[in-house]
């Protein structure tokens, strides 16, 4: 009995002492060359801007659609009654855009024709993209003019209480609308208003505002 008891204690001690040695892992450099290094590039720059009509091919983005090209130039307009010309009462404008749904997921972001969709995104690892709009100094009708600054817009979107694209007024130059962080889809809806403080001759006054999304 005494002998069995002592042998048992001996094995217990042995396990404790040798366990670190049995489990020891050694990392030893062989001193040899290791050659395969995979070089990866940054993702390519990509950009998308839609004002009014736009195109996504193959469905919405969340269904695998891909951005396309749409050359449509939408028109925002109003007819000021002769008795109201220049009376300072702002007039709501309307558009010929029928775009309500986002190409992101089909959600009804805007309420056309009073609202015009504006949205875009940028893939650029060097910094945020800049969205601006530029306009000439005047709307023109032959030799007659109305300052472009008579037109302002508000910005909002269904389901989004905070506008990402700024409200503002055309100024005959460039107006900053948004800084769009890389890999972020931004969209809003613009509602245009004619200030109606200019007294102008009868006619159809036109002008083109150009929206630009640029990467660094």
């Amino acid at each position: 009995m005494g002998s069995h008891s002592r042998r048992g204690r001996g094995l217990t001690v042995l396990g404790f002492v040798l366990a670190p040695a049995v489990g020891l892992g050694l990392t030893v450099s062989s001193g040899s060359a290791q050659a395969w290094i995979l070089t990866t590039t940054a993702g390519a720059k990509e950009i998308y801007l839609q004002v009014g009509a736009g195109t996504y091919n193959g469905g919405n983005y969340n269904a695998g659609g891909t951005p396309g090209v749409n050359a449509t130039v939408n028109t925002v307009s109003l007819a000021v009654p002769a008795a109201s010309v220049g009376n300072g009462v702002a007039q709501a404008m309307t558009s010929n855009s029928a775009v309500a749904d986002s190409f992101y997921d089909g959600y009804a972001v805007c309420n056309p024709p009073t609202q015009v969709y504006i949205g875009g995104w940028s893939r650029d690892t060097t910094g945020a993209a800049t969205l601006t709009v530029t306009s000439p100094a005047n709307l023109t009708s032959g030799a007659d003019t109305i300052p472009f600054s008579q037109i302002s817009w508000t910005s909002t979107a269904n389901g989004d209480a905070t506008a990402d694209i700024a409200a503002g007024t055309f100024n005959g130059g460039s107006v900053a609308l948004a800084s769009i962080a890389t890999n972020t889809w931004v969209e809003d809806c613009m509602t245009f208003t004619y200030k109606n403080t200019a007294v102008a001759a009868a006619g159809t006054y036109t002008g083109t505002a150009v929206y630009t999304l640029s990467q660094p």
């Binding site: 040798l18 030893v28 062989s30 990866t40 983005y61 972020t184």
Partner: protein, 158 residues
């Protein structure tokens, strides 16, 4: 008397078992030379996974390349070994990789900073080679310039 009688058998038992365990005691890990490996392209072009970001992100870039891996196993010929692929975590953030093989090595996947078993068994040849199709995935927001992924290989032998 009792203490001395107890101490002697304990010492004998230790000596006997240590001798019996010694040949199996140490498993070691060694770096494996892959210097003869041949990538089919020097650079892997990373492409955005989705055709546009979602409103908050959607930022994964993917790349694929093919490499003929040649692992020099001559130092461990006729021994049992486990070979692992290891990818140190790059400064640009999380990278994952998954690959297929022609059958000599194991297909698998790994996250940078970890290692994955690609071979287990007897080392019967002085080198092990296979053609590997490697897919790499990274965060496109953080991958702002060319980045080197230094795949490494190590073997555990018994």
């Amino acid at each position: 008397m009792t203490p001395r009688l107890g101490a002697l058998p304990l010492g004998l038992a230790l000596a006997a078992v240590v001798c019996g365990q010694a040949p199996l005691a140490v498993a070691a890990t060694y770096a494996v030379d892959d210097g003869a490996s041949l990538p089919w392209r020097a650079t892997t072009i990373m492409k955005w996974r989705t055709p546009g970001p979602n409103r908050l992100n959607g930022n994964i870039v993917d790349g694929v390349t093919v490499v003929t891996l040649v692992l020099n196993t001559a130092p461990w010929l006729h021994r049992f070994g486990r070979i692992y692929m290891f990818l140190p975590e790059p400064a640009s953030g999380p990278v994952t990789a998954n690959w297929t093989t022609q059958g000599r090595l194991l297909p698998g996947s790994l996250v940078a900073g970890q290692r994955t078993l690609i071979y287990a068994g007897q080392i019967t040849t002085s080198s092990i080679s296979d053609t590997v199709t490697m897919n790499v995935h990274a965060d496109g927001r953080r991958l702002t310039s060319d980045q080197n992924l230094d795949f490494q290989f190590e073997i555990e032998v018994q």
